[in-house]
C-alpha cells in the first residue's frame, strides 16, 4: 500500500517536472491539435445556440422594422421604420400588460417571506426535514397546465369548493376569482406563490447552512429571543440568497405564460394580459410577424435592464 502511494507520487512528480519544462516553452498543451479538440467538443453546443438563439435575436431585430405577415411570403415584407415601436408603446393593451406584470411581481416578496419563514422552521424546529422538502416542492415540479385546470374548478365562482367553503364560513359575497375582473390577477398571484414556494424554500435551506452556528449560540448566551435572532442574524445573513431569489423571481414573472394561457387566456376583459401573452396573441393568432418582433425586442430590453440593475444592486443592497 505504502509503496504504491510512493510510486504514484513519484509518477506525479515526474509528470509535474515534465509539465514545468513544457510551460517554459509555452502552455503544456496547446497549438492546433488542442484548438481542434476544443472546437470539436464545444461545437455542437455552440452551433445549436447560434442557430436557435443568436440568429433569431438578430433577425427579429431586422423584422421589427417591417410590416409583415409570414403567411404572405418574404417579398411582401414592407419596411416601416420605427412605426411598430411607436404603435406598441402607445398601445393600451401593451401598457395594461406591463402594468399587470408589475402587479404580478407582488408574488415575489410574498413567496420570499413565506419561504424564508418555512425554511427557518424546517431547518431548526422539526423532525422529518426531507418529508417537508418534498411536500413543498411538489407544486413546483407539477405540470402548470394541469395545475391551472385544477384551479379553474377550485375557483369556480358559484359551485367551486373554495367559494362554498367561504359561504359556509359566513362570507356573504365571496369573490368571483378568475371570472371576476378585479380578482383574476390576484388569483394568478395566488397560484404563482403556491407553485413558487418549493423552489425558494429549497434555495433558502441551502443558504441557511452557510450561517455559522456560533452566531446563534452567542446570541443565545446574550439572551436574545428567537425573534431577535431571526431579524438580527438570519435575515441579514441570508440577504445574498434573498437578492438572488428576488431577481430570478422578477425575471421569471416576465416569463409567466403557461399558467395564464390555460387559466384565463388573458381574460376576463384582458384583466390578466401580460406582455408575453400579448406577444403570443399578436404573433400566432393575429399573425403580425413584424409587430410581434418589435414586442420581442422591447421585452428583451426590459430583461436586459433588470439584469443590469441586478448587477449594480448586488454591490449596494447585499450584506455579506
Amino acid at each position: 500500500m505504502n509503496s504504491e502511494v510512493k510510486v504514484e507520487t513519484k509518477v506525479i512528480q515526474t509528470t509535474k517536472s515534465k509539465v514545468r519544462k513544457k510551460i517554459k516553452n509555452g502552455s503544456p498543451f496547446s497549438g492546433w491539435r488542442e484548438n481542434l479538440a476544443g472546437y470539436a467538443f464545444i461545437g455542437p453546443m455552440f452551433i445549436g445556440t447560434s442557430i436557435l438563439v443568436l440568429f433569431p435575436i438578430l433577425s427579429s431585430f431586422v423584422l421589427s422594422f417591417t410590416d409583415w405577415n409570414f403567411v404572405s411570403g418574404y417579398q411582401n415584407a414592407k419596411f416601416v421604420g420605427f412605426e411598430n415601436f411607436s404603435k406598441l408603446l402607445t398601445n393600451p393593451l401593451f401598457q395594461k400588460g406591463l402594468l399587470n406584470n408589475v402587479i404580478l411581481i407582488l408574488a415575489v416578496p410574498i413567496t420570499l417571506l413565506l419561504s424564508l419563514s418555512l425554511a427557518v422552521i424546517i431547518n431548526k424546529y422539526v423532525y422529518l426535514k426531507d418529508l417537508f422538502k418534498v411536500i413543498y416542492f411538489m407544486p413546483f415540479i407539477s405540470s402548470i397546465v394541469a395545475v391551472a385546470v385544477v384551479f379553474q374548478v377550485l375557483f369556480h365562482p358559484t359551485k367551486g369548493p373554495i367559494n362554498q367553503l367561504l359561504l359556509k364560513l359566513g362570507v356573504e359575497n365571496p369573490p368571483g376569482w378568475i371570472a371576476d375582473v378585479t380578482f383574476a390577477l390576484p388569483s394568478v398571484i395566488l397560484i404563482m406563490v403556491w407553485t413558487g414556494i418549493g423552489f425558494n424554500l429549497i434555495i433558502y435551506l441551502a443558504g441557511l447552512q452557510n450561517i455559522p452556528k456560533e452566531l446563534y449560540e452567542a446570541a443565545q448566551i446574550d439572551g436574545a429571543t428567537a425573534w431577535l435572532q431571526f431579524t438580527k442574524i438570519t435575515i441579514p445573513l441570508v440577504s445574498p440568497t434573498t437578492f438572488l431569489l428576488f431577481v430570478t423571481g422578477v425575471i421569471s414573472s416576465f416569463k409567466v405564460f403557461d399558467l395564464i394561457i390555460v387559466l384565463t387566456n388573458g381574460g376576463p376583459a384582458n384583466s390578466t394580459i401580460t406582455p408575453v401573452v400579448y406577444l403570443y396573441q399578436q404573433a400566432f393568432i393575429e399573425l403580425k410577424t413584424g409587430y410581434a418582433s418589435a414586442i420581442s425586442l422591447v421585452m428583451f430590453v426590459i430583461i436586459l435592464i433588470i439584469t443590469y440593475i441586478q448587477f449594480i444592486g448586488q454591490k449596494k443592497w447585499v450584506n455579506y
Binding site: 453546443m45 424546529y125 416542492f137 411538489m138
Partner: protein, 277 residues
Amino acid sequence: MTAKLDIRKLIVTFIMILIGIAFLMPFLWMISASFKVEKDVLTFPIQWIPQNWNAVENYKEVWTGSMPFLLLYWNSIKVTVLTTLVSCTISCLAAYGFAKINFKGRNFLFLIVLATFMIPPQTLLVTQFLLYRWVGLYDTHTGLILLNSFSVFGTFMLRQFYLGISNEIIESARMDGAGHFRIFTSIALPLVRPAIATYAILRFIWTWNDFQNPLIFLRSKELYTIQLGVQSFSDQHGSVYSLMMAASVSAIVPLLIIFIIGQKNVIEGIQLGGVKG
C-alpha cells in the same frame, strides 16, 4: 432539558404536517374528484373519499377516448427521453471542452453561450417559428427535441463539476498519449456521473412539463404531448370536471413518483444551480 426540547419539536412537527396537508389540498382534491361520478364532484361538504366510485370509467375515457392519453404518453415519453439524452450528451461535451481544453477563444465563446442564458425564451419564438417552417422542422418531434437540447444551464452546471477534477490527472493521461476523447470517456465522464444524473432528472422534468414549445411548434393532434393534450382535453370536456381531474392526475402523478424516487438528486441539483427551468 433535552426531553422538553423534543416535545416542543414534536408539536411543531405536528403543526407543520397539518399545514403541509393544507398546502397539498388542491392535489388531494384533484385525485379524489377524479374517482367520482360527475354529480358528486362539487358537493359540499367535500366527500374526500368518494361515495359513488367511477374511477375505472373516468380513466378509461381519458386514456382511450377522443384525446387518448395512451398516445399522448407515448409522444411525451419519446420527446422527453430523446431530449434528455441529446441534451446531456451535448452539454457534457461542451462542459468538458470549456473546463479542460485550452483552446483559442475559449473564454470569449463561453461568455457568448452564458449571455444567451438571460434571454427570455418567448422573445425567440417568432423567429424560431419562421426558421422551423423554412427548414421543415415545424410540426415534427425532431424540431421539438432540438429546441430543448442546447442547454446553457446544463453546460454551466456540468462545467462546474469538471473544474473540480484536478488538472494533474488529465495532464498525466495526456503525457501517456491519451487524446481528449479518450480522457473524456474513461476519466472525466465517470467522475461526474452524479452531476449528470442530477441534470438528466431536471431536464426530464422540465421537458415533460413544457407546454409553450409544443403549443407553438406542433399542430397535428397525433403529435401532441401530454401538456398540450391536457389543455385540449379540458377545452373539449370543459364542463365534465371528473374527467378533467382524471386527465390532470394522469399528467401530474407519474412525474411526482419520479420526483419522489429521485428527490435527493433533484433538490441538490436545484440548490447547486439556483436556477429555474
